[in-house]
Amino acid sequence: MSENTPKQDKPKVGVYVCHCGSNIAGMVDVEAVRDWAREHLAEDGVVISRDYKFMCSSLGQELIEKDIKELGLERVVVAACSPHLHEKTFRTASERAGLNPYLTELVSIREQVSWVHTDKAIATEKSKALLAGTVHRVAYNTELEPLKVPINPNTLVVGGGIAGIQAALEIANAGFHVYLVEREPSIGGHMAQFDKTFPTLDCSACILTPRMVEAGTHPNITLLTWSEVMSVSGYVGNFNVTIKKRARYVNEELCTGCGICVEKCPQKVIDDVYEAGLGYRKVIYTPFAQAVPKYPVLDRPNCTYFKNGKCKACEKFCPTNAIDFTQEDEYLNVEVGNIILATGYDLFDARKVTNYGYGRLPNVFTSLEFERLSNAAGPTGGEITLRDGKTKPQTVGIIHCVGSRDKNFNNYCSSICCMQSLKFAHLVKERTGADVYEFYIDMRTPMKAYDEFYQRVLDEGTLFVRGKVAEVTNAAHGPHEKGKLIIQVEDTLVGKQRRIPVDMVILSVGMEPRHDAKQTGQLFGISCSSDGWYIERHPKLDPVTTMTEGILIAGCASGPKDIPASVAQGAAAAARVLDKILQKEVELEPIRATVNEEKCSGCRICNNLCPFNAISFIDDLAVTRINPALCQGCGTCVAACPAGAISGTGFSNEQIFAQIDGLLMGV
């Protein structure tokens, strides 16, 4: 059918007007609309017009199916509620009766008419107009088939924290191959830095390391640590990813992980990543003892050999000659069908809250610094001490909501800090017997065994002050405050200002999205919310998929959450991926744009309009082509083409022009 010839013989249309109980019928004269459609829209193809109390019920749907079969209906228009609710219901019903589902349309006369207007006569007239619009439009609907693309059974998981590891293991255990890419030298993520986890007080490393080892030795997992994704192209089922495997300067085939090179390296630097700036590491290092993989990494910018050609102690002492100063970055190309982003979070920078003195007052610590203090493998061997590394505190103040729930920094709640603060209180009491004060706004302890943990910490004698801390200062008001850090806070339950002298302050800092999350998102074609977290397809019903087919998210990358939730999301993302892999093919909605290459003049106006990179220019033919699997169906290029060479299925120009005509019938 040529684009410019309007349809002369109209297809047979069935119209169904729903009462929705009294939701529609109370404000719209449904029978009048039904009769009007039969009379006035007959020339537009309406051969039958019915009304029914609840069209979405099985009886209502059967009405449609019966008419399709008996009257040979070629189009169906239902005037009822919003397409976002029941479009699929009616399309499926039509399909059951043998009619292509895309020939059925649902127009809303409930949310858009009966629920929002007050004059019955006007509401009825508007319903007629909306119905007419859709009847005119539907004549131009074409039969569409969802696109089927084959799925590559390999999966890429970006991020080797607990969510990423969980996802990788689930998919690998099901028998499919996974590439697990991690930026740091070892997998484990933030969980590897913690000491104990709430509420069970499980040792974090003890529960994490078995998973890490499993992932590191699994035959179906290719572990790529000290690596980053450089570029992604393709579409769901068929992604081509380039990964840069950074040079470790250690030959992984020869290295036995004995650690002699680390021991002999003479150069120490502050470990900003794993030790949160509180401890040191060597220039050639493994981040922690249970690192997976066990191969160390050489920090080139700080290496004496690379800076001025001296040293090479590691090479001298390595028993297997595994040190290779000539090693170069490697680039790998992998093909995968689905990608799971489990890139985790960064912490809020407590230096920004100048009135809490972090960075200025030595004995103010962040939560991550405290985790390292309390961890037996940390810089103080698990002793909780002040900044001098020796003195044990006698009073500790723990401040909640630093950088969270705060209009000056981040508005959102970071979800885990209340529980984390309680855990710190418990650990401090257990290890040092110090007095502990907690300064909170609200106590958020919703999940299993969380509130019981709160009760336990209360019973242990921790003191809770409800108030947002105004200032942490070392300016003493008298001899009793000398040498201490003073927390100035309004105790809102008592209604008084209090100055509480403590030895150590722990700031429960909030979670923030990774500071390069936006760039990473752009690499994969997904977007971030205004707070910077990745956006899920539906906040309630679809938390692990994104608007981009084939890219999933899990763990803290989409928002602050605790370990059980991260694990659950990792497993959920894996399940979604497996569901796709097992179907061998994936179905894509057929709302796409296509270029009529005969009409395309090669002006390329459309080329830069696509954020999904679906539009490409074919040089030797000098025309533009659209990849239907990448195309998301927004229609911007359709509107932009000056030659009208691009048509958009589902929302074509004919359909919309017809709808405008119908809407303005009688005007």
Partner: protein, 334 residues
Amino acid sequence: MNKYLFYPGCSMEGSARAYYESIKAIQGPLAMELEEIDDWNCCGATEYLSINLIPAYSLIARNLALAAKQVNGANSVMAPCSACYLNLEKADHYMAERPALGEKVNEALAAGGLHYDPGSVQIRHLVDVIINDIGLEAVKTKVVRPLTGLRVAPYLGCMVPRPDYAKRWSDHEHPSELDDLMKALGAEVIEFPMKTACCGGHMTQIGPETAYELIRRLVAEAEEFQADIMVTMCPMCQMNLDAYQGETNRHFGTNYHMPIVFFTQLMAVAFGIDPRQAGFGLELVSAKDALARIGLKAPQPEKAAPPRKKPEGLPMPKPLPKKYASGQEVVMEE
């Protein structure tokens, strides 16, 4: 040559004479041209605004109107006194934010043949001008007598870093501008935790006990950190801490002897100007000992140097990179 319209304020001629003298002394070396606003009037300090807003703002706005008229090659008004500065800034800000107020104020000004459109002049504090317009590098080049060995406690007071309508300050609780300026003079600057805490203001007149306690806290803290001298940029702060230090001592039975001078006085001395010309000698708590530490006048018996911090224990986090309002990145010296 940086040119500014100068709003001295009433205290320059009275209690803050030292401020005025030292500003005049450093004006030349800093290449700062100051043209006093013709026929300026009192800004009303803090009292008037709590009595009746419209006449109060009109009083302040008259100065802005005069400045706007006098503009010739300079549209910045520089006020060294914190209260004057805040009042001018507030008037300009609220006349824009509340058009009804603006209208009434202009009605009042019209009676004197004047008019002020909010935003016509920029209002700057002297410290802001030195840091952002003149720049610390330029200040360093003028230092001929570095204040080496002098431990300085920088005290900004509360009225300038807050509310900061024009967003000129690096931080509102612990700004580093005055610290960096003193460091540029070669002084040893202590990390003074109460640098923006209240000095008591007019409580010395209204409720002296409160004022004495606030003064005591500041002076005691500076002493705790073994400061030799405190510097400030506000005449009220200087008067409270200096003139009332004796009464504070009597009230508490303490024996504090903490000199407090204006930052411009130290700048003048660092630039090689004679201390008397820099306004020294006008303060009640004598700065003799502090000056002696930098080799001026007869040497006094050495005070034991405070212990230096040896790097031991756990490493501290690195400070956050800073930028001043001028956009200039601050180079950390450690």
